[in-house]
Point group: D2
Chain length 367, copies 4
């Protein structure tokens, strides 16, 4: 039977990466993800892996690029201001089709904002920040266990598609402690990384790729035109949308109101939904596990079944757009955003009672 | 009568900025916006203004920050890879509520992509790239004259809202030549910049702002809590959405199909719409001039009137999401994206014939 | 009579800048200079100036560039890792001949090293780091009062020569508290900044400069060839070397051994010299106040008079090269470097007793 | 017999790296080193290696860091403005003791200066730019063959000392074409890279290093105090100074005047020396091959033998300081710097005739 230990969500990221056979971590400390950096510093070298503390997130993302290009399983971790510094690098990694995992523990912005939790980077994470409209698979964890499991899944999907994968989480999940089952997921076989640097003369075929993030002075091999390259990306993104959508259903059967939430807000919302059910309201929760690709079809089906929707997110309104894009006007869509934070202190979270209150307010036909 | 000269779209940016009383330009050369940098280098110093060539776009955006904080009318200009490097700075400018204008001439990505035109940065421009989900007003020019006029309008709105404004354009508009009427728009009065550095002892009131992009070691003055600050931003963004939506209507009366396009694709689409009208099809064009805030209500009204929609954009599909968000499932929404480029060469544009062909294909009830 | 207050060295930087009429501060917090950032955040806005917290030192130096180009008195402050990030910007500021003051509170390296004091950045500060072998005037403070006075002098010299000036200090000086006399130094008249952005049409002469950091797409005005530009720089640097050398003499009369030290090591050495004098040793101290230009001639004169030399610096040996370059083999030159730190803790300083011990060891003819 | 091919100096860098078994190149195009980037883009993938075009030199140096930390033989290449952007990364690489090779093709500064040759970055290359006073071994090539050979030697020394090595060259050497003998130098055995990421379970000893560039949140393993770490660096640098000094002697026997020059200036000077010898002057050339460590002792010996010195370098005077530090006042030291460029055009070099003229001018006892 698998071992269970009590750890923080941020530490679980490390355990998940080790289960996935991570070989190198590159990162720079930033609140509220510091426990991730510290975990890799302490634990990875003992296990034969490499830990590198960069001097900035611009450094981290380029180290990740360097490490990924040698064919290694590499990871970095950051929070929102660091994420902004990684935007050019992310776009270049997408262009070079290099597999890697970026863990993103959201905090509040804009600018340096506060060091506390928030969910304000949904757009730049799911729409491809920086330049060029590329796409990342974005996995959104809502528990300590998922912080570990989704990192494993992330490495697998990154290799499968030769694409960066973002594991999106937040400070509330990162700093809570829960039991973690140490387990290696069976995710199936992968092709050899024959596009990368090889050892011992194994790659005498002359087919190695130029890993370029530009067209011009260097060729865009193996593609011969820019449009050909874009078609390949487009096809890849379509395949992801068809095959990689993941979400959790909770009390969706017969729901007249569907709460949609990810990350810590999904946990808070689950509690509110459970209470609402106790009080006789037909309320359910749809929790996207992939926020890109987003479970549009599931939302549309629920809307066609007559449900209304309440998006709960700790921002001024970002994921709610994806809910609307899924629902396509077939049902009401409401938003409970960050202004609903409990205001006693700046650290005020959106609390279950507040979600319950909003559920009652927008419940179809009133309550 | 106003003077008219024949200039390129990129040069018109300079003329517009001068009409707006621009005081300093900070920028780094990048194709396809080089004519902008060159224009300011050549023309601004002669007019008493300052031209600074930065060493990178990270430099430009921070110089812009420095200049804006002294209360000057400042501008920068870049293209997509440079835009990515500006993401952290943009978010900090939004946090510090500093007025400035960023001209963004889109080129193809991801990574360094190509130096040619595209419309692939719509998401990071309209959703607030980097971190923190802030908002910029984004003005999208579709002619040489608009490249000048919208820069003027941009300076006005930036000052009015103490917020960065992005003037979004593309390489096709930037490199075409058309007659430009040199004119100073009458945009109404503005409040004095009493939040900035003053001269001559005028600011002895001790009320100057701390222009911070962080909370922590320095105060977030004049706000006392983070949530208070977010409420101010939220209210500002709502006001912009209520008061600043701008768009052009073309043959919308009785239209059964509405083409939605911005930038060069709007011009191409206009030609296709004109031809379709000649052929008896009830087709119109809605051209957003502000892509944020987006003309959602106008689209919804058209949808409620029975129209279908065709989004035409030179990307894999970004603005089409805003069309869907406006239409809310009240009408069909189709996309003609960058894979429809004429493929003879890499520089292939989406051409009017191709748009016309798609109009006929998706025209309600067939054709 | 001037007011005297008890402040830390880092805070004195702020008082000095205000006496010089500073208009804007741009900076990012980094230990051990945080009290400087905090002082400007708290005090400058009250006095009508602008405080901007950048998001990185790359940001700070470019904001400084932007602010300086508008003709304002601008300052930034950092410590060693931040200094490294400023290297490209420093070189561009030198190229554009823009006056500004950079306060540099040294800490230990390489890399991020420790947050404690050191004197390991002497070379990159005095030799022009980054690229291009430009020169900064570098003023080295050895007391709280000097932290204020040399910032004032720095602004004056920056304007006089249109050149960046570095005020070099360290964590020991920055964090000690001493009485500070609040005073405005009488440094003489300066030319108007007619090269910068002007107000109210005052600059209708069409002679404004292009503030470029490159040659190529933009002109290098007002110079017509690169070599002409280099001759101007060369002449400027020669004038500085002839006119701006400053140093303190302590017990140099008849000294057989001259200790040479700057910053905190000068204070430590002064104590040791006083003790050595009490013990009958003919020892003196030469303390460079400008470490560039360095007091080569004074050292040569002392060497020709028969003295030997002991360089005391908290590094592996950098300033000692300047001592040798001054002495030109006319006397013995010894080094007491950072390996002489008192090793009880990592924070170990070079202590007066240790300097005294070394004085006795290298004293000519023994002791 | 070894094959000989006719190539440019910049291309020879690639051939040398391949002979050394280079595994990955990370770099960004910049004049005048573009042929290096292009060579690796074209040739390295064919040979099973990885080529990555970064998006800036900040990217390159961090990719290099990432790649080096996995134990691979990695290289980057840049010119002066790019060098400035690498300063923080260089210092961190020195701190982490990671072997790698940086090829630096000097161009003129400060700022972006010109794209033409110069020798103005000697100080930041030899003194450790950025922060912390670390040291690189710096190899200075003066021929196409050396551009290849010294890259090989560089990789060997980098691994031997676990330290970055800079191969310093210039645009004149880089763009001239000469025959290159393709050869693999026999440089002796090296220790296994057991500090890095390993394959095949070979590293089960739990002794892997934390590759940190900071002290604080992460440990500075395997060192227990900062001072202990500095002692290790100090000892390493001393060993380099004792064992790795390399230089070329040309007509030094009985020389009354010794010209000291590196890079293209050494070639120009050699021609002048040959001519001077023909004319009966006792002139020789000492060409440092390692500019750090510098051949101080050789210069001192020559000075003690009665020689005078003429430093020839294409800067305002940098290497001349090292000549003075070697000579220690035992002989006259003159400088022929970049103001002696032939001024017909901006590209003006220091020409042999000009060196010969200066030789005659400063020749001891006149001529």
């Amino acid at each position: 039977m698998a071992e269970r230990i009590l750890v923080q969500g941020n530490e679980a990221v490390g355990w998940g990466a080790v289960s996935a056979g991570v070989e190198a971590f590159f990162g720079y400390p930033i609140t509220p993800q510091n426990e991730i950096t510290e975990w890799f510093a302490r634990e990875l070298p003992k296990r034969g892996g490499v830990f590198v503390q960069s001097a900035s997130e611009t450094g981290s993302i380029n180290m990740l690029y360097g490490g990924a290009s040698t064919g290694r399983r590499v990871i970095t971790s950051t929070s929102s201001p660091g994420w902004a510094l990684m935007q050019e690098g992310m776009s270049c990694l997408a262009n070079a089709e290099l597999p890697c995992v970026i863990v993103m523990v959201q905090r509040a912005g804009p600018g340096q904002g506060t060091t506390r939790h928030a969910q304000m980077d949904y757009f730049s994470v799911t729409r491809g920040g920086g330049q060029g409209g590329y796409k990342n698979i974005v996995l959104a964890a809502a528990s300590v266990q998922e912080n570990a499991d989704l990192v494993q899944l992330g490495f697998h999907l990154a290799d499968k598609y030769r694409n960066p994968v973002v594991m999106l989480t937040d400070a509330v999940i990162g700093q809570m402690a829960e039991p973690l089952e140490l387990r290696t997921l069976d995710l199936g076989p992968l092709s050899p990384k024959d596009w990368a640097l090889g050892g011992k003369g194994a790659h005498a075929d002359g087919k190695r790729r130029v890993l370029s993030c530009g067209q011009g002075q260097v060729p865009l091999e193996p593609y011969t035109t820019y449009l050909q390259f874009i078609r390949v990306l487009d096809q890849k993104y379509r395949t992801m949308q068809e095959q990689e959508v993941r979400y959790e259903k909770y009390h969706l059967e017969g729901a007249r109101l569907v709460v949609v939430a990810y990350g810590y807000c999904a946990r808070v919302s689950k509690e509110a939904v459970a209470q609402a059910r106790k009080e006789g309201l037909k309320v359910g929760l749809l929790r996207p596990i992939t926020v890109w690709p987003f479970p549009y079809q599931a939302l549309k089906d629920l809307a066609l079944g007559g449900a209304g929707f309440l998006a709960v997110e700790d921002s001024l309104g970002q994921m709610v757009d994806d809910v609307k894009l899924g629902v396509e006007g077939k049902g009401e869509v409401h938003l409970l955003g960050m202004l609903a934070r409990h205001a006693d202190t700046d650290a005020g979270m959106i609390l279950p009672q507040r979600v319950l209150q909003e559920i009652k307010k927008v419940y179809p036909g009133g309550h």
